[in-house]
Symmetry: C2
Subunit: 341 residues, 2 copies
């Protein structure tokens, strides 16, 4: 009798904003025995990630699209229950990109890391210590080459990447950290956690003027998670040799190619010697352990605060994902799926 598990798959390629019917819960069989290198992981927590959106449309042009019937992407914290991989043993706590499933069969290749301690809540390993936090860290460190005294602008600043980026920048000696977010509640939270200024873009008739007022001497770093409209407001305010980090382009994800507003400020790249660069944080995998140690210390000291929106059960993930795009809540979307050991 086959062992069964449950997972959530793509029902059909998505157009526009995601909706509940785009997702389907199904039962699938787990293998009776593991092949060499494999490990079986029981999921404790799984995340809903905005970056997943780009893989859910047919012909999505920048990452291979998911096919109907494939498990939806998501990061997981789990417990190894069986292992045919010498790096992992039953009982190990791990973080991996396992997807929306109650059990994940790790192939032996790709990202799965052991969680070395329980000094912070386990779900942090798919939040501030996971891909969002590492994206913030290496976006600032490797791509922006941030130096103390920098003036830093972060868009989508109340999200897990942006909030970590802004607080880490402060911890590294930024002269000024300004966040852009949608809504008064998000902005109040950003100020609470140490942003020097927070701008509610929905309340500003002239975003450029608000950005300028928040940092009259301009910006050395623009850490962007949104897209061209936000960049167009920020780029004219960049200082010489500024860096623009393209971490996410969430404004684009639900929009057909070409329909979103474009970037009109490329001319500034010349006079201001701007460099704009995208990152995929798995390029920095070898630096994760050291970065996680340092960031964990910042979390323990309170210098970096995190916010989670937690839901219960695998079935809660589609709505958590849909909620990412309506902007009503904010923080890392985590579903608690299995009991912690």
């Amino acid at each position: 009798m086959a062992r069964m598990t449950r997972r959530i798959v793509l029902a059909a390629p998505i157009e526009g904003a995601p909706k509940r019917a785009d997702f389907r819960l199904e039962e699938t069989a787990l293998p009776d025995a593991l092949r060499e290198g494999q490990a079986l992981v029981r999921t404790l927590y799984a995340s809903a990630d905005p970056g997943t959106r780009s893989r859910l449309s047919a012909g999505a042009s920048y990452a291979p699209p998911l096919k109907p019937g494939e498990t939806i992407d998501g990061f997981c914290v789990g417990e190894v229950t069986e292992s045919a991989n010498p790096r992992f043993a039953p009982g190990d706590l791990v973080a991996l990109g396992g997807g929306w499933a109650e059990h994940v069969l790790f192939s032996g290749r790709g990202y799965m890391q052991k969680i070395p301690h329980r000094r912070v809540p386990l779900s942090a390993w798919i939040g501030a210590l996971g891909v969002p936090g590492m994206t913030a860290w290496f976006g600032l460190k490797r791509v922006a080459e941030m130096k103390p005294g920098a003036r830093v602008l972060v868009t989508s600043a109340a999200g897990p990447v942006g909030a970590t980026a802004g607080q880490v920048a402060k911890a590294w000696g930024a002269e000024r950290v300004v966040g852009v977010a949608g809504g008064a509640e998000k902005c109040a939270w950003l100020r609470d956690v140490g942003f020097d200024a927070a701008i509610d873009y929905k309340a500003e008739a002239d975003l450029g003027a608000a950005l300028k007022a928040a940092s009259p001497e301009g910006y050395d770093i623009v850490f962007d998670n949104v897209g061209p409209a936000m960049l167009d407001a920020a780029i004219p305010l960049t200082r010489m040799n500024a860096r623009v980090v393209i971490s996410g382009q969430v404004a684009d994800y639900n929009t057909p190619a070409g329909a979103a507003p474009g970037l009109h400020t490329t001319r500034y790249f010349i006079a201001n010697r701007l460099r704009m660069e995208g990152l995929v944080v798995f390029d920095d995998l070898r630096g994760f352990a050291e970065a996680q140690d340092a960031l964990c210390a910042l979390i323990e000291s309170g210098a970096v605060q995190t916010r989670e929106v937690r839901s219960a059960g695998l079935e809660s993930l589609p709505n958590a994902f849909i909620g990412l795009f309506n902007g009503q809540d904010f923080g890392r979307r985590i579903a608690a799926i299995g009991a912690e050991p």
Copy 2:
């Protein structure tokens, strides 16, 4: 009795495409005696540069605008006739950013370099060996960090920057160099001088498809002189870790901010780890002499060919400049102003 010279000044800030009435020829007095550091230069050749356009409109946002009555920017080859500067002596041949004038008073500061030999025509020192050629050189070398085997796309490829960039890339071992230009004549010339393929964007219904056909494996370097519409066709074809060099954005110069098409392909920056960076070549001034030596050898060997559109007299410069934007001719616009010694 004051010594007089002639120069061309901005009559009034320009809107849209430049026209003859935007420029005014006037006589001005030269000083009777030079102050320490100054040198007086008799202009032999002066250039009309597309980059100048951005300074001729009121409120031009990316470089300080010229005021009415100020001399129009341009590069000059000249002969030093008087000097109170220990670095220059009467009889020296020099290249500098002197503007459209029959005599230029060099202040002692900023860019003026001695021309070390006459192995190539003097006008090359404000062409392939001047700012256009140095922009091509350092755009490829410092910004794009070009390596042998690279696949290179150059836009506005028949212009002095683009033509030099493409030919230098070939000389440095590019696997494939593709140029985009407007018109069959320009494309024929590009193929003549060694581009592997030349695409007439005016004749292509689907520029992206033409770019893909010209280099099916994509592009490691996009050397752009045009602007977002061209970039949007090229960016989806970039290879992993590709570099986009923003050397000029000529499509923008005659267009009010925001009216030109925007860049819609910022999402590719993430998955392809793109880096887009602008350059102002004066940052590389210390490397000019070495680069000019190497580029001069490429010109002498025929590996880099140049094309000039030459006119006679200071008065010819406004029309030469206007002609830059109607795309009917191509090559470096040079006015011969004084006789070579």
